[in-house]
């Protein structure tokens, strides 16, 4: 027994380490951890408290019925307003003080329509450089009803001015 005393010391060190770990663990693991699954249950409350950034297309359509009517007749009928305009929850709550910036067609349209072999063949794709060169897409296409001939003249904002 006397000759294995050092092993007992070693075991004590390990036991001490283990105890330290258990204490640390009870200290660091959030109390709501594991309530529903392998995560901190309070995280749900935190997430729920976050401000909603998207309003959803029904909200937009209530006020912008002209745009909605135009869009719903065209090829972009199933493309959500906020897919192009970005999250506009704040604008929908308070349209007078929060005014959304208009998307720049030169950047916007190609994110979906630039040709890429990974896209389904049935999806309309163009090589922007060959198709339009430097001319803005909305010179010819109406963003809210893009197929040529489906909508009257391009309601281009610069044209309007």
């Amino acid at each position: 027994m006397k000759d294995s005393e050092h092993l007992i010391r070693l075991a004590a060190v390990f036991a001490g380490g283990l105890l330290f770990f258990v204490v640390i663990r009870s200290f660091f693991v959030p109390s709501s951890f594991g309530l529903y699954g392998h995560y901190r249950a309070d995280a749900i409350k935190d997430v729920a408290a976050l401000q909603v950034v998207h309003a959803g297309h029904e909200a937009c359509e209530g006020c912008h019925s002209d745009v909605a009517d135009l869009k719903n007749k065209g090829k972009h009928a199933h493309v959500n307003c906020e897919a192009c305009h970005g999250p506009q929850g704040q604008h929908a709550n308070d349209p007078m003080s929060v005014k959304p910036p208009l998307p720049d067609p030169a950047k916007l349209c190609v994110t979906c329509h630039e040709a890429n072999a990974a896209k389904p063949r049935s999806f309309p794709q163009i090589v922007a450089k060959d198709h339009a060169g430097d001319v803005a897409c909305n010179t010819c296409h109406v963003p809210h009803n893009p197929r040529i001939g489906d909508a009257p003249a391009p309601a281009h904002s610069e044209v309007k001015k």
Partner: protein
């Protein structure tokens, strides 16, 4: 920075996610497992010839094991979060469970074995030194001063048990690394049940080569070089390498014969982007050549000097070859598209968080730690040491 792509890649495949640091990680753990297995040979199978490297191998394993998680930490960022893996482990994640394999191996195997083996020396050094050194060694000895015959016999017995537990642990440690790759179903370059076995044997090969080189390198300056010992280690290296090579060839033949839907794509990759690192560096320079050199030393009667030089060259080539093997697994597995229609390129940064410079520092760091460990716990007894 535009990444050159041939053919078609899915957008999320163009940039490689796993960098050179993830190459380093299995390389470093491989050295740990290999060095430990070499040490265990002496202990469990009582191979007297390799005894002079026993302690060096243990310290090497420790030095590399301490650095092994760093590439992962650097790759993931947020090192403080890695502790959560221990606090709230997720049992379905292979990577998370690896934290426990690592901890087990470090605490329950390596540190224990080193402590038990060195305890006598530590106590002797605590007695011989004074000041802070004495205090340091006393703390290392856990305040115990008992080095009676009986106490040492207890150590020896306990050490033997630790080694016996340690061998499967070392196998587990590195088998696990291979398992993490081998279990990625979606990647045909990785997904094979042979992966853990191949990783394990290549780990043994690299660990033996590293310890042999370290022993020879320190040989001229710190201790008498025991040629018989080097001869024996080189022989083990040769045997282990042959097994490793056969396993890798088995894997290759299997793939060629099976020729599943990924084969043409992978075959093309090996003949184009991966040609230099796979065929030239890994197979020719890093495997066939060192095996050939080692075979020569077994059949020819070379003079001692020539033999040692040959071992050194073979050892260095081996390490390069095993590193290339890790490279080809990790990087190669990300170069081809899962559509099998295209290939991307790996662009390595230099002085970035996951760049070449970081990788070089991470390779040198264990050597620095080893140097410190050798100072603290000299692996050579007085009669082996060179007269000052």
């Amino acid at each position: 920075m535009q990444i050159p792509v041939d053919g078609f890649m899915y957008p999320n495949e163009i940039e490689l996610q796993w960098s050179v640091l993830i190459v380093l990680y299995p390389f470093l753990t491989g050295l740990v497992a290999g060095a430990f297995i070499l040490a265990s040979l002496e202990r469990v199978f009582r191979v007297e010839e390799v005894k002079p490297t026993y302690r060096l191998a243990l310290l090497t394993a420790l030095a590399f094991l301490l650095v092994a998680p760093l590439p992962l930490q650097l790759h993931l960022g947020h090192p403080e979060r890695s502790f959560e893996m221990y606090l709230t482990p997720h049992r379905s994640s292979a990577m998370a469970m690896f934290g426990f394999v690592y901890l087990w191996y470090l605490m329950a195997v390596l540190l224990l074995e080193i402590w038990l083996d060195y305890r006598k020396d530590i106590v002797v050094m605590a007695r011989a030194n004074s000041g802070w050194k004495k205090r340091l060694y006393r703390v290392l000895a856990l305040g115990s001063d008992n080095i009676s015959e009986a106490a040492l016999a207890v150590d020896n017995h306990a050490g033997w048990i630790v080694t016996v537990v340690g061998i499967p642990s070392a196998f587990l440690l590195h088998g696990y690394v291979g398992f993490i790759f081998g279990s990625v179903k979606a990647n045909p370059w990785w997904s094979t049940p042979l992966m853990p076995v191949v990783f394990l044997f290549s780990a043994i090969v690299s660990g033996i080569a590293a310890v042999m080189l370290l022993y020879m390198f320190t040989g001229s300056r710190r201790h008498r070089l025991d040629t018989r010992c080097v001869d024996t280690i080189a022989r083990y290296l040769f045997y282990a390498f042959i097994i490793d090579f056969s396993l890798e060839m088995l894997d290759l033949i299997h793939r060629i014969y099976e020729a599943d839907e990924s084969f043409r794509s992978l075959d093309f990759m090996v003949h184009s982007r991966l040609y230099t690192s796979h065929v030239v560096i890994q197979i020719l320079c890093g495997t066939v050549l060192p095996i050939g050199l080692l075979a020569l030393t077994q059949v020819l009667h070379l003079s001692e000097k020539v033999r040692l030089r040959t071992y050194a060259v073979a050892g260095v080539l081996t390490l390069i070859g095993i590193f290339a093997m890790r490279w080809n697994v990790v990087i190669g597995g990300q170069l081809f598209s899962k559509s099998f229609l295209g290939y991307t390129t790996y662009k390595m940064g230099f002085a970035t968080r996951e760049g070449l410079l970081t990788a070089i520092v991470l390779v040198l760091m264990p050597l620095g730690i080893l140097w410190g460990l050798i100072k603290l716990l000299p692996p050579w007894s007085d009669d082996e040491s060179l007269p000052v």
